[in-house]
Symmetry: C2
Subunit: 208 residues, 2 copies
């Protein structure tokens, strides 16, 4: 070990960040050292702030500033359609959905996906809470749509399928529940020559 102990400790912690190996962690640590004190102080304070001030919305599980309210600014926004729920894997997936500007509903952040290799994964994500949320909406005799906006990957598709099955009993009981999925087809800028078969098949199926 040729680095000083406290630097080594910082490098070890930075190595835990997703996708960061020891070399890049060392680069980060030396960057922190070079930036004359302010950066380390600001980052240290920001980390503490996040830890103390961020809570999760009790309805959609988005992170939100702790303001004493149980709901985030989306779930508490009366202009949004509370009966239109987009189910996403993680919070960062919401950003692009919001940017489109055409979505006026609310969200449900699963906080993960269902993995065939992890039998406990259905319990690790906020699935039970989704069931409760939807059934209480239906209980109030409201028309309700769940948009499964998981990623078009095998894990995302598995998760969507699993959610459909979980919500199926609710759908049997009430005609008020609609379950939909994001459309599949060609992405903007892709070339037919390089597009995979499944995407092309979907594009044909969904032609209009």
């Amino acid at each position: 070990m040729i680095y000083p102990k406290s630097l080594q400790k910082l490098i070890e912690l930075l190595t835990k960040l997703p996708g960061i190996g020891p070399r890049q962690a060392a680069r980060f640590a030396f960057f922190v050292l070079r930036e004359n004190g302010n950066f380390a102080r600001d980052l240290s304070a920001a980390l503490q702030n996040v830890q103390s001030q961020i809570v999760f919305c009790t309805q959609c599980f988005r992170s939100t500033e702790n303001s004493g309210k149980a709901l985030c600014n989306f779930c508490g926004d009366l202009k949004r359609d509370m009966a239109l729920i987009a189910v996403v894997e993680k919070e960062s997936d919401m950003q692009n959905l919001e940017k489109t500007g055409i979505y006026g509903g609310v969200y449900h952040v699963l906080g993960g996906v269902i993995s065939p290799f992890d039998q406990d994964s259905p319990k690790k994500i906020h699935l039970k809470e989704l069931y409760t949320r939807v059934s209480s909406l239906l209980g109030a005799n409201k028309k309700c749509e769940v948009v499964l906006a998981t990623n078009p990957t095998s894990e995302g598709d598995t998760t969507a399928l699993y959610i459909e099955r979980v919500l199926a009993p609710l759908q049997d009981k009430s005609t008020n529940l609609k379950i939909s999925k994001l459309g599949r087809g060609l992405s903007l800028g892709s070339e037919l020559e390089h597009v995979d078969e499944i995407t092309l098949k979907n594009a044909f199926k969904n032609r209009n």
Copy 2:
């Protein structure tokens, strides 16, 4: 802006880390949120420790734990040859040199390279200090070797050439100063088919 303010602030700070864009910074921030408090607290403390406890060796400019001594544990180690100085661009370059186990000298960390696009770059690196260090060794009538261990890149080579010129007057005055460079040739595991011409030329020149 759909993320809470304190989370957004953390993401902005993380974006300043070398090679990190807004998406990866967001991934880091959500990782910090998910790790139940301990990680943020530890990282925050480690950042503060680094800032308060790390100083730079006044001789070789390595980072070192603040112990009241002016020299790092290499420069203060009497078993090391103080008249054999490896000049490196940055501290992380030392790690591999140390790992070889064959180097028993000391170091001089430049803290950067000379760039033809930045006229001030010779002043930004610890070059003057290298000159003073070498001339005081020669003044004490000691035999002294400077190993230019900059990277084999165009910037590294420019820097090595510049240092050679800076030290040339000292070499003219004294036969005690030797300036050397790391050998060039084939790296282990490389294939002749894919090796570039300059490397191959160097390998021919340095055959033994």
